[in-house]
């Protein structure tokens, strides 16, 4: 089996696996990272989103070979309870979820948005999250949380 190397949450990672397998399968199955969630497997729900070189992508639809040499961030790499990312703090402050299954993917889409657009409008947040599905109807709180995080990031 070929080796594929990439950086995962800041750590050099080397995986020996069939390069056609999906990144989601590698992350969950081989690397035991359960942050990215399976929802559909065909790039229709966003539950599995991760960041690849600062872009949110559906890891279920991303073959392993395509991330060789790239920088991958999963929800685990966003922040920790001790050192939370502003988005994580904001999602707690806004109580921006119900079941929360969709949240890990939504945090990834939001984090990618804030990298390319640190001061988004509500409409821009909605557009950035439009490929992420939430069945519980927590959308408005999530939009508020992203705007709150953006404001916090901007504050000196």
């Amino acid at each position: 089996m070929p080796h594929v190397r990439f950086r995962l949450n800041g750590v050099e990672t080397d995986v020996e696996a069939d390069p056609d397998r999906s990144l989601l399968d590698i992350l969950r199955g081989d690397l035991h990272m359960t942050g990215p969630h399976f929802g559909c497997g065909v790039n229709e729900c966003g539950a599995c989103n991760v960041m690849v070189d600062d872009h949110a992508v559906a890891s279920c639809d991303t073959p392993l070979w395509s991330v060789a040499g790239k920088e991958i961030v999963t929800p685990e790499g966003l922040g920790t309870a001790g050192r939370p990312h502003p988005l994580q703090r904001a999602f707690i402050a806004e109580q921006a979820l119900q079941c929360g299954y969709c949240v890990s993917g939504i945090l990834m889409s939001a984090a990618a948005l804030l990298k390319r657009n640190p001061k988004p409008t509500a409409a821009e947040v909605k557009a950035a999250l439009d490929r992420n599905l939430c069945r519980c109807g927590s959308h408005n709180r999530m939009v508020r949380a992203v705007l709150r995080a953006a404001a916090e990031l901007e504050a000196p």
Binding site: H37, C45, P75, G100
Partner: protein, 710 residues
């Protein structure tokens, strides 16, 4: 002569599970563990219950730990559904804590030598005059809670509760935001194998032949389980399980399936089926001679999918003839009952434990996948097996919310006032949950070589809120009515409990029809409702929402406003909604203004969160959702085939919570669906003059309704 006060009674859940130790334990290290029978399904129940316990015991909420339901230890509280969690579990826990607090105070009073009335509790420390003190934790080993609750302990009056009524942050949210494994999907046991089940594409097809050789050759292959039409694989990894399943699918030959109804003629089909008819309610008056005309309308809603964002998942592990099951089922005891029936095992041999899943919104495939895991784990040599359904199976083999056809008819007098009202419902039953009948209700049970018959869905009794008939009895003071429910005795498409059961359809019908009558009379729809309502809490939510939305705002072209109201189950939460919509061909809902009364709201932000979520989900049902099928298969088995509302389509939702600390708490999760549905439909009429009576309100249904109007 005054009546003697009624003898105190225990709350239902506690009466059924009176042993105090099954609800609560104290540790010497300063923790109190609460063990409810209800489960977290994203509604924030664990937080609300922790608030209640902390309040009643006078301990810091940080000391309260909640354990997940398990048949090994938890009280049996049936199913977590029907917006009853706070009502049932909350009341029981409040009562338990009130009694336990008294028990501790009694022991403390003996030990400290002062009367109970001189003692005070602060964060678990019990103190009295002259700095004498002890604590729950110090007394934990001395006080035995191995005794039954006795009616009579009196919980604190609402004014003395500190946490109830405050928006405490939910305890489960940090884990979910920091991606700590908390969902069953993420909880691996050591040595876990992965299973997948092969299900037919055609509804009800039988497996005719199966070639296994290719599947057996795949790396990581462990086993194939076949029992009649039930076929599954067990593999070392999830990847291997999926590959093996693919190979098995290629090697499978299926018979043709069963015929499904015509999706474009659902109302006619529903009304042509054999049914069991029930008279739900009748009220008579003798003014029939004033009748000048009769108006009749028919409203329909399609089958609706639960469509959880996470496909259902379960784990199981056998040790000889005992099996342990991990599930996100809403009822661990009920699932155990059905597993015992299918496996023909005594229930003591089965332990069912809850782990959180994604939102389920009713009876989805959670229970089905648990049986799948149990059957596959038999072939795993004692190792645990984790099974997860595919998106396609989740959207086609799990139960759906039942389609409904509802006829409403009113006799009117010369002034257009209602004299008599008739409401008839045709629908499959809305409940086929496991653990309720003599036969199991789990999918794989119907696939075995010795199959169990498919359960035809039933309706819960009126006393529990009813099923297809839920919310069909008007809350308005019409002089006479007759309500009938016709439950189908055939069930080509599998149905079971989906949020609100029949209430969404019935409230849509009643509130649309009232709007039609108001429009005919030229009367303001808010005024018409208020004129027919006597219940002050009902009038309050309507007046509040009207005030909040500045009813009725000046109309601009292309926009419309509509109102909808309901009291969930006629006994639960009051909810009134004003929808603002815009559009001509494609409707978008801009804003939903909502007033809600759930009695005492233990966690106000939690209630608002649930109302917002319910309102957005209902908007999705109304604008988008309809299970699609041809005559042989469910075709809406992907998110493309079954679209739901997206971020860019979500309305603003503005909720006013009317706090009533003196009234019992009722659930909020299902209060908004019916009123939101009606409010949107009524707003569409306001904007376009088109009455859509068949959900969902899509471009196609608008055109069809326009043609009808023309």
């Amino acid at each position: 002569m005054t009546e003697p006060p009624p003898a105190p009674k225990l709350p239902v859940s506690l009466a059924a599970n009176p042993k105090l130790s099954s609800w609560i334990r104290f540790s010497t290290e300063g923790h109190v563990t609460i063990s409810p029978g209800k489960v977290e399904i994203g509604q924030g129940i664990v937080t609300a219950l922790a608030q209640i316990a902390a309040d009643e015991l006078d301990v810091d909420i940080g000391r309260v730990q909640l354990v997940r339901a398990s048949t090994a230890a938890s009280p049996n509280e049936g199913v977590t559904s029907g917006s009853l969690s706070v009502q049932q579990s909350g009341r029981a826990i409040r009562q338990v804590c009130a009694e336990v607090r008294q028990i501790f105070l009694g022991v403390a009073s003996d030990r400290l030598g002062v009367g109970i009335e001189a003692l005070d509790v602060k964060d678990g420390t019990i103190s009295g005059p002259g700095n004498i003190r002890t604590s729950y934790w110090e007394l934990a080993e001395e006080v035995s809670l191995e005794r039954d609750a006795i009616p009579g302990a009196i919980p604190k009056p609402s004014a003395q509760r500190v946490l109830a009524g405050s928006s405490v942050q939910r305890v489960d949210i940090p884990d979910k935001v920091f991606a700590h494994p908390r969902f069953i999907h993420d909880s691996a046991l050591p040595g876990t194998l992965h299973g997948r089940v092969l299900r037919p594409e055609l509804y009800g097809a039988k497996l005719v032949a199966l070639r296994e050789d290719a599947a057996r050759g795949i790396a990581g292959f462990v086993n194939i389980v076949r029992d009649g039409n039930f076929v599954g694989v067990v593999s070392e990894t999830e990847h291997s399980a999926l590959t093996t399943l693919g190979a098995l699918r290629k090697g499978a030959a299926w018979s043709s399936g069963e015929t499904l109804p015509d999706e474009d003629g659902l109302a006619e089909w529903l009304k042509a089926q054999p049914v069991e008819s029930t008279l739900i309610d009748r009220k008579t008056a003798s003014r029939a001679n004033e009748k000048t005309r009769t108006i009749r309308r028919q409203y329909t809603r399609p089958y609706i999918a639960h469509a959880s964002i996470a496909p259902s998942c379960a784990m199981a592990q056998w040790t000889q003839d005992r099996v342990r099951v991990w599930t996100h089922s809403q009822g661990v005891y009920l699932l155990r009952t059905d597993l015992a029936l299918v496996l023909n095992l005594p229930i003591e041999n089965i332990t069912v434990e809850h782990l959180e899943g994604a939102g389920c919104y009713g009876h989805n495939a959670a229970d089905d996948v648990a049986l799948d895991a149990v059957l596959l784990a038999k072939a795993a040599g004692g190792r645990p097996v984790r099974v997860q359904w595919s998106r396609e199976d989740e959207m086609s083999h799990g139960p759906f919310g039942a389609a409904m056809a509802i006829e409403v008819e009113a006799d009117l007098d010369a002034h257009g006032e209602i004299l008599d009202w008739r409401h008839s419902i045709w629908s499959n039953g809305h409940a086929a949950r496991p653990g309720r009948a003599a036969l199991p209700a789990l999918l794989a049970g119907t696939e075995l070589a010795n199959p169990f018959p498919r359960t035809i869905s039933a309706n819960p009794p009126q006393a529990n809120g009813g099923g297809g008939d839920r919310n069909s009895i008007p809350l308005y003071d019409f002089p006479a009515w007759q309500i009938e429910s016709h439950r189908l005795l055939t069930m080509p498409i599998r149905t079971s409990a989906l949020r609100t059961l029949g209430a969404q359809g019935n409230i849509f019908a009643i509130e649309s029809f009232l709007d039609e009558l108001a429009a005919e009379r030229g009367e303001d729809p808010v005024a018409l409702r208020l004129r027919h309502l006597r219940d002050e809490r009902a009038r309050d939510v309507i007046r509040s929402v009207a005030r909040r939305a500045n009813w009725k705002p000046q109309k601009q072209s292309g926009t419309g406003y509509g109102i909808g109201f309901g009291r969930y189950k006629n006994t639960g939460a009051y909810c009134a909604v004003i929808a603002e919509i815009e559009g001509a061909q494609d409707i978008s809902v801009r804003r939903l203004t909502i007033a809600v009364d759930v009695g005492e709201a233990i966690n106000p932000d939690g209630v608002i969160n649930q109302i917002e979520g319910g309102a957005i989900q209902a908007t999705s049902w109304v604008l988008k959702e309809r299970v699609r099928f041809d005559r042989q298969r469910i075709t809406s088995n992907t998110w493309t085939g079954y679209p739901i509302l997206r971020f860019s389509e979500v309305p603003d939702v503005d909720v006013e919570l009317i706090q009533r600390p003196e009234c019992d708490s009722v659930g909020a999760g299902e209060a908004a669906h019916g009123p939101v549905t009606a409010a949107i439909a009524n707003a569409v009429f306001d904007a376009l003059g088109v009455r859509v009576r068949n959900l969902p309100i899509t471009r196609d249904s608008l055109i069809a309704s326009m043609e009808l109007t023309a």
